[in-house]
Amino acid sequence: MNKISVPVVCLLALLAAPLFAGGQNEQSGATASGTVTVWHYFSVDSQVQELKDLAALYNQTSPNVRVNYVFVPYDQLNNKIVAAAAASTGPDVVVYNGPNVGQFVDAKAIIDLSPYWGSYADKGLFAPAVVHSIGGKVYGVQGYVNLLGLWYNKDILDKVGVRPPTTIDELTAALQKVTAAGYKGITLTGKPNDQGEWQSYPWMSAYGWSYSSPDAAAAQKAFALVSSWAQAGYLSRIVVTWEQAEPFQAFTVGDVAFTENGNWQLGTAKANAHFNYGVTMMPAGPNPSKVYLGGEAESIGAFSKNPQLAWQYLQGSYFSKAGQLIAFRDVGSIPSRSDAAQDPAVTSDKLLAPFAQEVQKVGALYPPDAGPVTKVQNAQLVVGQQWSAVIAGQEDPAAAADKSVSGVRAELGQ
């Protein structure tokens, strides 16, 4: 009774093997199967195309896995992730605004990626700035970097005899010329949210603004600049109602000389802008214009039914060289892997060269390193609201600067 024959033990072991190693077997390469649900906020055609292409790339090695993309509006993604975690559910993978990683960690909505990241052979190729760690644990990694530059309509500049500006003074002079010739000057977003603040920062920092030591005089100069543009008609005040994508849509019409927008608009420009265009670095003021290094981070949801499969998807899409080149090709995103960033397709792109220069010369942490993430983001919102109020003509630059300083100090407890 107590004796069990060797063949029986072998048979039992064979039958039981999938119970213990089933996850591993299920996930590996072509045999992996199941569904990976990915929450994202991409709505621009080129970004949607990128998602499709990344899924197709991943399916080349894992044909039996279905990638299920779920669109959630930008403003609602954070809340939905936190609410889903409260209900012990959520996506397998979430693609989100990198700086929000802190909120997701607080809400226990994403898992610690360290075990996966630690054994990832290519981790050394990623720039440290794109790996989001809290308390020594990795929670999210960016597959690319996004940042702002000054796009210009080359046809308009050629007609009025203006060269792409390198300083704010040159830009203002150029705006005067192009508007005098009957064209629209510049578009950007003045929405009272994080997007407005994101676009205000290069101008603010050009006059010396920083969150660690907020200076009213610096803020006032930046506010006075956009206020003067709005008063002169170089900048339409309606931009206070525009999302970040809308200024670029207006630019692609062809009658706007400049727009402040990101490298991720490359795909939209190629598809919709039927004129010659270019990009230059954000023009400098008394100081260089600092540009936030943004981009979407990718994390695995805390309630993913199959985190191993989710990790496999990330490896085979966002984190792979081929995936990052897809993001570059479709959208214009700058790869975060050094081997992808050095690919000839990237280095030979004239449009992306100014962005690459900005990364090296004026790239700034986003959010700024001035305190806990949530507090800094609340401080940024204060500035975004004042930026909006000034462009609308509701707030005097001096008063807006004072409110910005007091608001930032109150939020950061300075």
């Binding site: 909120q103 109602t241 949530t374």
Partner: protein, 299 residues
Amino acid sequence: MADSKLPKSALSRRVYLIYIIPAGIYLLLLALYPFVNLLWMSLSNVTTLNIVRGSWPFRGLSNFVALGHLSDFVLAFRNTLVFVLIVVSVGMLGGLGAATLLQVKGRLSAVGLGLMVFTWAMPPVVLGSLWKFLLLPGGLVNSILATLHLSKGPLWLVQENLVLVSVALVNSWAVIPFSALVYRAALIDIPVELLDASSVDGATPVQRFLRIKMPLLLPITLILTVLTVVYAFRSFDFIYVMTYGGPGVASTTLPFLSYRLSFINYKYSLGASVAVFTVVIVFILAFVYVRALRRTEQT
């Protein structure tokens, strides 16, 4: 016979109770539980660290005290009152006017009614986006004004003194169909004999409207007012889509402030306090109107 009816009557009452159980459960789960949770949140210190798991430390009324020191709260309260006033007055008067026109039977009236129902059924997010385009500097509204030489075209969603009024008017426009449909039903219910008799007695159309129709419409007007005030007080969609509470904070109302504090600033307790404050105001207003309604019915 009387004895045999008693158990049946009692049974009927029990059956009646059984019928209201589903609605009771629905209210308990989807209205009462969230509200109690909201109330508890407004009295606690809730952050992203403890909103999902962990206890919520009790803070008493400190969140409500903090609201008093929040400059945006005072502005949002004032904006909300202005917003409600515009939506209620324009929505109700517009509804009454539309109902009076649509009361006449005919093809035009049928088309008008169809359009009203269509507008009423449209999601506010769609209507808000649509009006955002119509109110652009070069949009349809300004083009019409320019064609009629009435105005160069203001910046409806930008100018400080216009932005809140613009969004409130769009919201009123969305309210008009509901008011019109309710008023139309009430107008049709007014006995024709009464109106004919007043005409024979020499009453003018204005007199008929003021002396006969308006008094008969008073009960429905009070009910509509309560509903519209509640609707306007909690209005969020149009502001979110059209202005995002801006420029700056110019069109921020209490519901939007509650949203911003809770889901942008992640100050959940402060956001909950704003929401509770709004609910209390709505409750007081509803209570006053319901009492007024009862008095009217009694007289």
